[in-house]
């Protein structure tokens, strides 16, 4: 009796194993003789036509950690697929920048490895150092500011936004307009950030922004940690990871997050959600786009980049309320999507500065040491 069951089970396993042996490790080779993993510019690719033909021959693109509602990626991916007939495989949408790098390293040589990456800037810098990114300069390379791209073309900024305070007017009749406001007693048990600042970029940015609002600077993040300590002591801060879900459930009526994510992920679920960039802190950051040096679909990867840095791609991000890196160029050329531009939260006046990699690393060290003690 039992032996029969075992026999059946073993046969089933063997059958499944044989059936699955199909899914394999073939590395797709491009049509024709050109090795697209070495192509570094559109000219090398044989112009747009050459690139499109090769990409179509590959037929697929693997992307990673791109949630549909993040900066309008859902629509951007659909538009790309429709335009070129290339299927996009989207893996691990909830993943982090580190997950992307791990996937590139671990799935090297596999068909499932990611082709293109959208990383936090410090991760892009690190990945370039590790040699896992392919140099490629898109056709509109010169429109990207020099400090927002890698000199060798291994990564470039794509879109970004400001840290903002989002709130539900139904639950928060007296809206906050600055970090200082958040300390008011009427916001008891209401304020959250999106995750753990020792791990998540958006949460870390919230602490950095709080530092700027409280007399700190890029070199001094301690006032930011201190601010959250005060917020916790006042009873206003909820340590839960704020997200569209917690907003919908009414748990976090005030959320500190990137403005474009508040617009695309939260406002889409709670149409009355309001977003304001705090008057006492203008902290912005841009993500970076890069191509995997060992991408299984190198031509499709490069075509994707060309698309993203074309007017359509940049406006795509703008429609997700993110600020594309070439926004100024588009505005000057008149090709910007004016309706989408009007919906952006009012940017603070003056030039926006960004912390250097070293400043960020030093700040991270302080946050890792002090966060739990301050808010625990």
């Amino acid at each position: 009796m039992h032996r029969k069951m075992w026999a059946v089970a073993v046969t089933a396993v063997a059958a499944l194993a044989l059936a699955a042996c199909g899914g394999g490790t073939s590395s797709s080779s491009a049509a024709g003789g050109k090795d697209f993993s070495k192509v570094a510019s559109l000219a090398d690719a044989g112009g747009m036509d050459g690139l499109v033909a090769a990409a179509k021959a590959e037929g697929q693109l693997n992307v990673i950690t791109l949630p549909d509602k993040w900066a309008n990626y859902g629509n951007i991916m659909k538009a790309f697929s429709d335009k070129y007939g290339i299927k996009i495989n989207s893996a691990n949408p909830d993943g982090s920048s580190q997950d992307e790098i791990n996937a590139v390293k671990q799935l090297k040589g596999q068909d499932r490895a990611p082709d293109v990456l959208d990383l936090g800037q410090s991760f892009a810098i690190g990945a370039a150092k590790d040699g896992i990114l392919a140099p490629y300069k898109v056709a509109t390379w010169d429109n990207v500011p020099a400090d927002a791209k890698d000199a060798d073309g291994r990564w470039l900024s794509d879109y970004g936004g400001f840290i903002s305070i989002g709130y539900d007017p139904a639950k928060v009749p007296n809206p906050p307009t600055s970090f200082k406001d958040l300390l008011k007693p009427e916001y008891k048990n209401m304020v959250a950030i999106n995750g753990n600042p020792t791990q998540a970029g958006a949460a870390f940015a919230a602490v950095y922004a709080a530092a700027l609002a409280n007399g700190g600077s890029f070199d001094n993040i301690a006032p930011g940690v201190d601010f959250f300590k005060q917020l916790k002591q006042a009873g206003n801060f909820i340590p839960v990871t704020g997200s569209p879900a917690t907003v919908q459930s009414g748990q976090t009526p005030i959320l500190i997050w990137w403005d474009y994510l508040q617009a695309s992920s939260v406002q889409s679920q709670v149409p009355t959600w309001k977003i304001v960039i705090p008057s006492d802190a203008a902290y912005a950051a841009y993500y970076s786009q890069a191509i995997n040096a060992t991408a299984p679909h190198p031509a499709a990867a490069r075509l994707w980049q060309e698309y993203l840095y074309s007017v359509d791609g940049q406006n795509g991000w703008l429609n997700g309320s993110a600020r594309p890196i070439q926004l100024d160029t588009l505005v000057k050329a008149g090709t910007v999507d004016k309706a989408a531009l009007a919906k952006l939260p009012q940017a603070p006046a003056g030039e926006v500065k960004y912390p250097t990699d070293d400043q960020q690393n030093a700040a991270k060290a302080i946050v890792s040491q002090q966060w739990a003690a301050a808010t625990g």
């Binding site: 009796m1 039992h2 032996r3 069951m5 075992w6 089970a9 073993v10 089933a12 396993v13 499944l16 194993a17 699955a20 042996c21 899914g23 394999g24 490790t25 990673i64 949630p67 549909d68 509602k69 893996a91 691990n92 949408p93 909830d94 993943g95 997950d99 791990n102 996937a103 671990q106 799935l107 040589g109 596999q110 068909d111 499932r112 997200s243 569209p244 879900a245 917690t246 907003v247 919908q248 459930s249 679920q269």
Partner: protein
């Protein structure tokens, strides 16, 4: 006088004690049910309070990717269970029979499987696995067996302690049975509850494991659930609840197969 009343007292007391225990038993079960069901109710209430209403719960099975993800998880669950039991049952019996001194060390090794963060396990394995294996989801099943080991061992250990193992084995062997027959026909029927418990734990583990599957980039059921959490929170909560129900139904089916085998086999 005393001689007459004492036997009556003895007969009465056990009955009285059992009835008192019965009340306590039901109160305990009720409190436990409340603790587990109230949060589920709170979540369900939230799930149907969205614009979709009940549609949030019923429309899920139709969503794209659900069937593939669930099938993949079921397959992995089957493979993992087979590997785990095939590995642990003979080994556990062996340890109990011949190597009792090694038991604690053995348990410690199995516990390591859940103490080492799954992220580390999958990264380590991906570095050494041959490319053909890496391309299939079965690499996951092999690591899941490591995660399932402590739970399987704990169940098997409890079951093995409850039976007169040495006696059974010696009796069977002295009657001329080989090891396969001894294990298959003498020991396993007596370990039914432990085997079932181990199977339930393994299957539930595979159907709930997210970290390794997502790092290995395979869309198993828990990974699919998280992907679907992209949308509306009401839908995402509904999907989580659905995954609970689906897993539970599956486990009920598994446990019922076993009972039917019992009734047909009558081997205990």
């Amino acid at each position: 006088m005393v001689a007459v009343t004492t036997p009556v007292e003895l007969a009465v007391t056990p009955v009285r004690r059992r009835r008192r225990t019965s009340w306590g038993r039901w109160i305990i079960l009720l409190l436990a049910a409340a603790y587990f069901l109230v949060p589920l109710y709170a979540a369900a209430e939230f799930a149907v309070s969205g614009p979709d209403g009940i549609g949030a719960l019923t429309g899920i099975a139709g969503k794209s990717g659900f069937v593939e993800a669930f099938t993949l998880s079921l397959t992995l669950a089957l493979v993992t269970t087979v590997i785990t039991l095939a590995l642990m049952v003979p080994t556990a019996i062996w340890v109990h029979l011949r190597l009792p001194r090694v038991q604690r060390l053995f348990e410690g090794i199995t516990i390591l499987g859940i103490v080492i963060p799954p992220v580390v396990l999958i990264v380590g394995v991906l570095q050494v696995a041959p490319a053909t294996l890496k391309g299939t989801p079965y690499l996951l099943a092999l690591e899941y067996a490591i995660l399932a080991m402590p739970f399987a061992y704990r169940s098997l250990d409890a079951g093995l302690r409850a039976i007169p193992l040495t006696t059974l084995v010696e009796a069977s062997r002295s009657l001329g049975a080989g090891w396969v027959v001894t294990i298959g026909r003498v020991l396993l029927p007596n370990l039914r509850s432990a085997l079932l418990s181990a199977t339930v734990l393994t299957v539930a583990l595979v159907l709930g494991e997210y970290t390794m599957a997502s790092l290995d980039q395979f869309e198993t059921f828990p990974v699919w659930v998280v992907v679907y959490q992209q949308d509306d929170a009401h839908v995402s909560v509904a999907v989580s609840l659905l995954s609970l129900v689906a897993t539970w139904v599956l486990l009920m089916l598994i446990s019922m197969i076993d009972t039917r085998r019992l009734r047909r086999g009558k081997t205990s």
